[in-house]
């Protein structure tokens, strides 16, 4: 391995500390635990402060729509008395075209307050555009680092579009070929510029999403007289789900079910050069979703503020063809042309609403902007160019990387349940994996309680899992 690489990686903690100005060690407890709520309280901002910060930069207060035609279509396939009302929060109405503006607004505000001259974010997704847009508003320099091309120089159209959008807001976009060494380049840039690490996973970033959950609840209470029965959240790194759930809790919507949804990309390796362009989704997929659910601290900060297993009631997957189909349905039946990644939770909600009662409500909590590259036609066309078979049929037969199957009729859309039990065990296992046997046996009460909160279970459950390891 490159000596510069090892050398830089050894300075990782020092670089990170300077670039984020948070002493995470003060929240450490016991052997593996840390005080998450203390971190959120001391480092983040409260809901009122965030609402002020976001309203200064045009973020939030996005409309909520009842998808009447889609609900009507759904009920055609339901048993009598079934088929919940589907609502959608149009997050594409934020300045940079996605809910990520909420995260970026607080991160960039914080960077400016601490006196940083610029911000850097490592992201190929909507977050890059969000940081670039907020940096433009606050007058800071911005660098976005993207994984964009395979070794043939072929770029994923969606990521290429995101680069354009970041440049439209005045950011420098550094693009890389496939590989996890992106993190090394990220550290190099942080060290060279002394800019702020506008990570997706800081307490203020996640707290920025709490307003989404809070607003959503107020809008639903106003519309329907009660909190929503279920909210479906697209899940990748876990921040969208964590922030939304925390916002709903702060609004008092304690009975609302939180359902995570990801696109099924099973079998595709995220760091593979050859498989990079076989994916038709660059985020919101199981390749990020599952690893982050079971090990939140794999992110670019020591303690991630995005901890989705604490909040999740269900976690489902949908196939690529189903998401593209619902993206088209949204345009054709509701007159809303939006980007495909924002429709992951819509596809899941359509399947889940079928088994809910007619008087219940389910909210799809985001949409994203659409444009060249970031569009189902661009993606299906790109998939075909890459040898992926695109057809109409039963999406259950879809094989990621080989085929995309658009549902023949809407009743072919289904949400596949992931086993939360398995994910919880896996999280506990991941937490204790680095420990010596003796350390495992001597875990303090605070560690056991921490694992119980992390997995939304109780200490008896944690003891049972630990004993079975």
């Amino acid at each position: 391995m490159n000596t510069d690489y090892s050398d830089l990686m050894s300075r990782k903690n020092e670089i990170m500390k300077r670039a984020i100005a948070i002493d995470y060690s003060k929240f450490d407890r016991g052997t593996i635990a840390f005080d998450y709520e203390q971190m959120m309280r001391e480092v983040g901002y409260d809901l009122e402060e965030i609402r002020t910060i976001q309203s200064e930069s045009g973020v939030g207060n996005t409309p909520i729509y009842e998808l009447r035609n889609i609900t009507r279509l759904l009920r055609h396939y339901c048993k009598p008395g079934k088929g919940a009302r589907i609502f959608l929060k149009d997050e594409a109405a934020n300045p940079s075209g996605s809910f990520k503006a909420r995260r970026a607004a607080t991160a960039v505000y914080h960077a400016k307050k601490l006196g940083y001259k610029g911000v850097i974010a490592a992201t190929s997704g909507n977050y890059g555009a969000a940081v670039a847009s907020q940096a433009a508003i606050r007058g800071l320099n911005c660098i976005i680092l993207q994984e964009c091309y395979d070794s043939k120089g072929k770029g994923q159209p969606e990521i290429v579009e995101k680069a354009r959008k970041c440049e439209a807001y005045g950011a420098e976009v550094v693009q890389l070929s496939v590989g996890p060494e992106l993190f090394y380049v990220f550290l190099t840039l942080l060290e060279e510029t002394g800019y702020f690490n506008a990570s997706l996973y800081t307490p203020f970033g996640i707290a920025g999403v709490e307003t989404l959950g809070y607003e959503l609840n107020s809008q639903m209470v106003e519309r329907t007289g009660k909190a929503p029965d279920a909210v479906v959240v697209t899940n990748a790194g876990g921040g969208n789900l964590t922030g939304t759930a925390r916002g709903l809790q702060k609004a008092g919507a304690l009975d609302t079910k939180i359902i995570g949804a990801s696109v099924n990309l099973k079998g595709l390796h995220m760091a593979s050069d050859q498989q990079f362009n076989m994916k038709s989704f660059t985020t919101g997929h199981t390749g990020f979703g599952i690893p982050f659910v079971t090990l939140p601290d794999r992110s670019d900060v020591p303690r991630s503020a995005a901890r989705s297993l604490r909040y999740m009631d269900r976690y489902v997957t949908v196939n690529q063809g189903e998401v593209f189909y619902m993206t088209e349905v949204l345009a054709q039946l509701e007159g809303l042309e939006r980007g495909p990644a924002g429709s992951i939770s819509l596809a899941a909600a359509f399947a889940i609403a079928r088994d809910m009662n007619r008087d219940e409500t389910i909210v799809v909590q985001e949409t994203e902007y659409t444009g060249a590259g970031k569009h189902l036609q661009a993606q299906l066309s790109f998939a075909r160019e890459n040898g992926i078979e695109v057809s109409i049929g039963n999406p259950a037969d879809e094989v990621p990387g080989k085929s995309i199957i658009l549902p023949q009729t809407p009743d072919f859309i289904s949400a596949k349940e992931l086993d939360l039990e398995k994910l919880r065990k896996s999280l506990i296992q991941n937490c204790v994996k680095p420990l010596e046997v003796q350390q495992r046996e001597e875990l303090a009460e605070v560690d056991i309680e921490y694992l119980a909160v992390e997995t939304k279970t109780d200490t008896d459950y944690v003891h049972r899992v630990l004993n079975a390891l």
Binding site: N141, Y149, G179, Q332, A372, Q377
Partner: protein, 101 residues
């Protein structure tokens, strides 16, 4: 193609050769270099495509690399027509006529 000082250009650079890749990368990724692309204003007096150059990026960083494009354009699009999408649209129209109010 010739570029002059101050022209908006795109550069390319190899950051890691195949043998230098991180230990955890899959085999197919380990076989290829880690590459980088960036854009900026040319600082050299003049240069041809393929020359090693120095640029100043939009935020003022100086970056070295091989000149690959002058006045780089965006080439992404809405892709080719996908007839299956039109089929979905037609089916939905028919379906909505059957679906009750």
């Amino acid at each position: 193609m010739k570029a002059c000082k101050g022209d908006w250009v795109r550069i390319h650079r190899i950051l890691m050769e195949p043998g230098q890749r991180a230990a955890q990368v899959p085999e197919d990724t380990a076989r290829v270099p880690l590459e980088m692309w960036d854009k900026g204003f040319l600082l050299n007096e003049e240069a041809e495509i393929g020359h090693e150059v120095l640029i100043k990026t939009i935020i003022g960083r100086e970056v070295k690399g091989t000149l690959i494009e002058v006045n780089p354009a965006y080439a992404h699009s809405f892709g080719n027509c996908i007839p299956e999408i039109l089929q979905i649209d037609r089916d939905l129209k028919t379906l909505m006529q059957e679906v009750g109010k």
